[in-house]
């Protein structure tokens, strides 16, 4: 809503465009009322559907498995995982980077697309942001629990202590601490202020007393005053402006964890850009994996149209190519750079004990996604869903390849080693997925998953003639 006129323009176009090839961002025939009713009813209807209960229950059980795995971890120590010397980092960090990457789509959609005035973002930004928060929460678990003595993790924060000794600010891990916590805070605020007007709507529409009270408290007495809207819009815009460099910085910093180190396969300048691209890549894949079933189940095809699926697919195609370029440059530099360690690394990826995974990675992240060139694929939810899944697998493999393969064979051949995940590695990984789904289920049940007031602005009625 940076510029209202522009919104109107988009809305008009959207309306007139039904006939034309390009599908609109919102199906015609909607009014403020219908939008409001449609979206808020999802949250306000009682009783809860059985499907939801089942899904939530499943996610919850897996979350319990995560807690069990973590409890055992605290009792025994990180030795229950497959890590060793030389491979000091494996699943924990792979998962961390993977989740953080996924967590990039939300803020990107709500902030960057907002600044780029991509009005189609309005219908997906809300749950994309929620997805971001939950993904970052899942990611946040790992840096903490992967330490040998997690109960001392508070030493990573610069608090006044009796040792007169401080964190070591040259360490990328410390940068992570600040980057990730900042990212989480800002995303949370961004998401929440986005929610305020809709919470007001829910407050005013809830039948149930308690619902009314709780939504009321969260809405903080929002009444849609013109003055409030003015300040609100500014704040929202500023936040978007701040979040944009932030979202780019977060994965850059994460990539520093590797780029700053001297390990062959880590120590490369290409990392920041292609980590960010990869993050958006996997982020959109996750958005689609959520959007496609949600719009089906809750019948939101009017709001999440094929246009959205198409655009997301195009974004994936683009970022996918950036990632491919990254791989290309890595390989090229490995060969061209003439550094004996990088050359060996390249050879090792292609012929080493983990070569299979590397080829799988290429298939998942580069070759299969090329199907998205085909329009049918972009518009067919089922195919899109499957491709997104493949991409998510691929991006997980990318992190595995970068972290584990590089560590498994570094400088001294005498200390080369292998890594085999244990069942505890897997339980922790899948556990976080369960946690993510649980949170997602709760979210769609108690909060509007599409921004109601921003949808309203897409309608032609929202137009106001200038003087």
């Amino acid at each position: 809503m940076a510029d209202h006129r522009d919104e109107v323009g988009v809305a008009n176009e959207a309306a007139n465009e039904v006939a034309s090839q390009r599908s609109p961002v919102i199906e015609p025939g909607h009014t403020f009322a219908t939008i409001t009713d449609k979206i808020s009813s999802i949250v306000l209807t009682r009783p809860t559907s059985l499907g939801w209960v089942v899904g939530f229950g499943a996610g919850f059980l897996v979350t319990m498995m995560l807690l069990y795995a973590l409890a055992y971890l605290f009792v025994k120590g990180t030795g229950i995982w497959g890590i060793n010397i030389p491979i000091g980092w494996a699943f924990a960090i792979v998962n961390f980077v993977w989740w953080i990457g996924i967590g990039h789509a939300g803020t990107l959609i709500s902030a960057i697309l907002l600044l780029l005035r991509q009005s189609w973002r309005n219908s997906i930004n809300r749950f994309a942001e929620a997805m971001t928060l939950f993904a970052v929460a899942c990611a946040g678990i790992f840096p903490l629990v992967h330490t040998g003595r997690p109960w001392l993790a508070y030493w990573l924060f610069p608090y006044p202590n009796t040792m007169n000794y401080w964190p070591q600010f040259r360490s990328p891990l410390l940068w992570d601490v600040f980057a990730v916590s900042t990212y989480f805070t800002i995303s949370l605020l961004f998401w929440f202020i986005g929610l305020i007007p809709d919470l007001a709507t829910l407050r005013d529409r809830a039948e149930n007393k308690y619902a009314r009270i709780s939504y009321g408290l969260l809405a903080m007495g929002w009444r849609g005053s013109a003055r409030h809207w003015a300040r609100y819009e500014t704040a929202y815009l500023l936040l978007a402006g701040l979040a944009t460099p932030l979202v780019l910085s977060v994965h850059t910093v994460v990539s520093f964890d590797f780029a700053i180190a001297i390990v062959p396969g880590w120590h490369t300048t290409i990392f920041p850009p292609y980590f960010v691209a990869g993050a958006i890549y996997s982020g959109f894949a996750m958005v689609l994996m959520l959007a496609i079933p949600i719009r089906k189940i809750y019948g939101l095809e009017d709001f999440i149209t094929d246009r959205h699926l198409q655009n997301s697919a195009k974004v994936m195609l683009a970022t996918g190519w950036i990632v491919a370029y990254g791989y290309g440059i890595e390989a090229f530099m490995g060969w061209y750079g003439g550094n004996r360690y990088d050359q060996t690394l390249l050879w090792n990826r292609l012929h080493g004990p983990y070569a299979g995974l590397y080829y799988m990675l290429l298939a998942c992240n580069i070759f299969i996604p090329q199907l998205l060139w085909i329009r049918k694929m972009r518009t067919n939810p089922v195919w899109l869903f499957l491709i997104s899944f493949v991409i998510l697998v691929g991006m997980w493999l990318e992190r595995f390849v970068i972290i584990v393969i590089s560590l498994s064979r570094d400088f001294l051949t005498s200390s080369w080693g292998m890594y085999y995940p244990t069942r505890w590695d897997w339980m922790t990984f899948f556990g976080t997925i369960g946690m993510f789904l649980t949170a997602m289920f709760l979210f769609v049940r108690i909060l509007p998953m599409i921004s109601i007031f921003e949808m309203r602005t897409l309608l032609p009625e929202a137009e106001v003639k200038p003087e």
Binding site: Y159, P160, N161, T162, Y165, L217, G221
Partner: protein, 231 residues
């Protein structure tokens, strides 16, 4: 419709901005607790099998520290006197004082007296008495006015920040080596100058820097390196 009464406004505002202050207060509390005697034992008189009075033995009888703490100049460990040392005198005087029974019992049975440790450092801290004594750090610089302690207690917090105070500015505490065991030593003033090597010093700054040279103290960077105390 109106859901909330007017009063809610104040409450809600408080609940939005209040937590910040609560958290801050909590944090401040923790920081204080960290340094409190409850954690450090500083100034806490721990119960002992025999209520040994340093005041009486040092001030009253004028016994030198090294009579009991024999290894303070040769070893990292200052030494806790064996029962034998107590009995040197107490086989002659106070021979049947009730409070000394544990000592006599120990001597009879050969069972050690089990004192409660007063000045204790964590196990990963390696402190050497001998080097500190050699470089002109006085007993009471760390142990406080032991000669005025009827019951022994730990004077300083013995926390790292406390150690660093001296390690970052040793010249502020150094004294001539012959004064190390003098519990009543006071830093030089114009009225009470301190003589070493024929020079007379009227303030700690000049004395300190002179001693830093004389006793070849290592640079601050040296003595604040981690492995100075941790290995």
């Amino acid at each position: 419709m109106q859901i909330f009464p007017r009063s809610t406004n104040a409450i809600s505002r408080a609940s939005l901005f209040g937590p910040v202050f609560v958290a801050a207060a909590l944090f401040w509390g923790l920081v204080q607790l960290q340094r409190s005697p409850y954690i450090t034992y500083a100034g806490v008189r721990k119960s002992q099998p025999v209520p040994f009075s340093h005041q009486h033995h040092v001030t009253g009888l004028g016994i030198d520290c090294r009579y009991c703490h024999t290894s303070v100049e040769q070893s990292s460990f200052a030494g806790i006197p064996p029962t034998k040392t107590c009995m040197n005198c107490h086989s002659q005087i106070w021979t049947n004082a009730a409070m000394l029974e544990p000592v006599r019992a120990s001597y009879r049975t050969g069972q050690s007296i089990q004192w409660t440790r007063v000045n204790q450092l964590p196990d990963f801290v390696y402190f050497s008495h001998n080097i500190h004594v050699t470089k002109g750090v006085g007993c009471n610089d760390c142990h406080g006015p032991v000669d005025q302690m009827p019951l022994m207690y730990q004077q300083a917090s013995l926390q790292m920040e406390w150690c660093l105070n001296c390690h970052r500015a040793p010249q502020d505490v150094l004294r001539p080596r012959d004064q190390v065991f003098n519990m009543r030593y006071q830093q030089p003033t114009a009225s009470r100058p301190v003589q070493i090597d024929g020079m007379s010093y009227t303030d700690q700054d000049s004395l300190g820097s002179a001693l830093v040279k004389k006793y070849q103290l290592r640079s601050v960077q040296d003595i604040t390196s981690c492995s100075t105390c941790h290995r």
